[in-house]
Symmetry: C2
Subunit: 302 residues, 2 copies
């Protein structure tokens, strides 16, 4: 810290200043963390020979209180003054997903004035990726109604408008969430404007069915980030069990990227990140597959 003898315009040293400091003058926003907990699960398969299809899932909690009573929201909660932001996120994760020490990454901080009808709330969203097999079947104990929703996020419209000094790109993105009979959805408009050399991105919820707050935005953003990062980092492995086949790994990539990949190229690319074992899958109605494990690397990404 600074030289302890320095005095400010009021003749105070830092010590003296801090002793007198009153933090209570201004009204302050509340701060929360919101968790985007993703996992991948196997859908049931009718044909015994076929591999189970995989799907991306997101944990949501049914609100038991106002506001948005009865709607679904991301797990999260207020940050106390005595805990760090990351700590608060870990705490939420533990209480909601009942699992600690997993992959978690800060995504974005949402600070619009009207995002919560109760009061001014600024919220930092965190993404966590969990391996379904390591997870307790029941999700947490805190919230009564915590459910895994199958997520799907797709572009439904893209519009380009030329402006005087640039252009504007407007994309409508449909977020769908399904859990058994329950079906939620929202349309998010992502507007990117290039004016001069200035780029600006903004998100707006066009419609929302059953999703609380501005959480549709947080979900859309998280999926975009997930899609991006899976291409140039090794985060996908956080979704895998300790042992997996390369086909399973490829399925996870495909489900997140929303497109099919060629097996040969995929295997080449992923090869340096995995180590083969001597074990194989059994009892499939077809050729067994070698099991691999994750092999993190010196000097790999991020």
């Amino acid at each position: 810290m600074a030289d302890s003898n320095l005095r400010d315009r009021n003749g105070l040293t830092e010590q003296e200043f801090l002793r007198r400091y009153d933090a209570g003058i201004y009204e302050r926003p509340s701060v929360t963390v919101d968790m985007l907990i993703f996992t991948v699960f196997d859908k049931e398969q009718d044909n015994y020979r076929k591999l189970p299809e995989k799907a991306l899932q997101l944990l949501l909690i049914k609100r038991g209180e106002h506001p948005f009573l009865g709607q679904w929201a991301l797990p999260g909660g207020f940050v106390s003054v005595h805990e760090g932001l990351e700590q608060a996120a870990q705490r939420e994760l533990l209480s909601e997903a009942n699992i600690g020490n997993l992959y978690m990454e800060q995504l974005f901080t949402w600070g619009d004035v009207d995002r919560d009808p109760r009061t001014r709330v600024i919220s930092t969203s965190y993404m966590a990726l969990v391996d379904r097999t390591a997870l307790d079947v029941k999700a947490g104990d805190d919230a009564a109604d915590a459910c895994w929703f199958e997520v799907d996020c797709r572009l439904v419209q893209e519009k380009k408008t030329m402006l005087a000094d640039g252009y504007e790109l407007e994309r409508l993105i449909r977020v769908s969430l399904v859990h058994e009979t329950e079906s939620l959805g929202a349309t998010v408009k992502v507007t990117t404007s290039y004016v001069g050399r200035t780029k600006r991105v903004s998100r707006e919820i066009v419609e929302s069915e059953g999703l609380a707050f501005d959480h549709a935005k947080l979900i859309e953003y998280a999926i975009e980030r997930l899609r991006n990062k899976i291409e140039y980092t090794d985060i996908a492995f956080h979704l895998m069990p300790p042992l997996f086949t390369l086909s399973e790994l490829q399925q996870v990539y495909e489900v997140i990227l929303g497109k099919e990949l060629l097996a040969a190229a995929f295997r080449r690319k992923i090869a340096p990140l995995v180590t083969e074992t001597n074990e194989y899958t059994k009892d499939a109605g077809h050729r067994p597959s070698k099991l691999y494990r994750f092999n993190p690397h010196w000097g790999s990404l991020e």
Copy 2:
């Protein structure tokens, strides 16, 4: 919003609930924004034939109050409950750098409990990239002592330690800031641990000379992000004037990446992002260079 007739366990509708909601129960952290305003400038050149060297600069403000009186800090300030986070950042930018409507991007939210000795402060850092030629020479009017510091950020040590179920990578990064006779610096330790399939990154300030708060961390992080993003987005153009030569553009890339690039490859890669004009540089002691302008693309990145 939810069905307005739904009643919670106390028999209240959402309307009634919100009317009675009291936000004042819990103690709340303060929220601030911190701005990392980067620009590139031309250093003086002795030899009239040589091109001026370029350097990356960051705007810092000398603190006129406790805490950290007399040290240098990132421009920034408290977020009021009546303004959005982004708005607050724009406001700071305008008051500090005296320029509006430029490129700005949210980087990270810093929420450690002890990062500010006054009180609990959570801060969101924003990076802004400005074209030096479009900027008023005097930076802002708000803070008396605002100066552009030449920044340099380099890896000084890298250590890998094997752990039971993974390894830990410890990097010491030296941040140096120079403005005329003033010279600031800090060493930041970035620890990345891979345990099982879980990765965790943490930053710690090992030493700091003349930099207030935890701002050395914010600077190190911003430069890391800038280096990363310049490789796969077009943010570098925000640092350029409307017309520029490809050599100048290449210099900007080199200064940010901290390494030399081959001209041929660079030109190939950058070609789709620029449009050539009919203008040329003049009065250099060598062959004149064609001037280009930025050409944003449909469907380009992000």
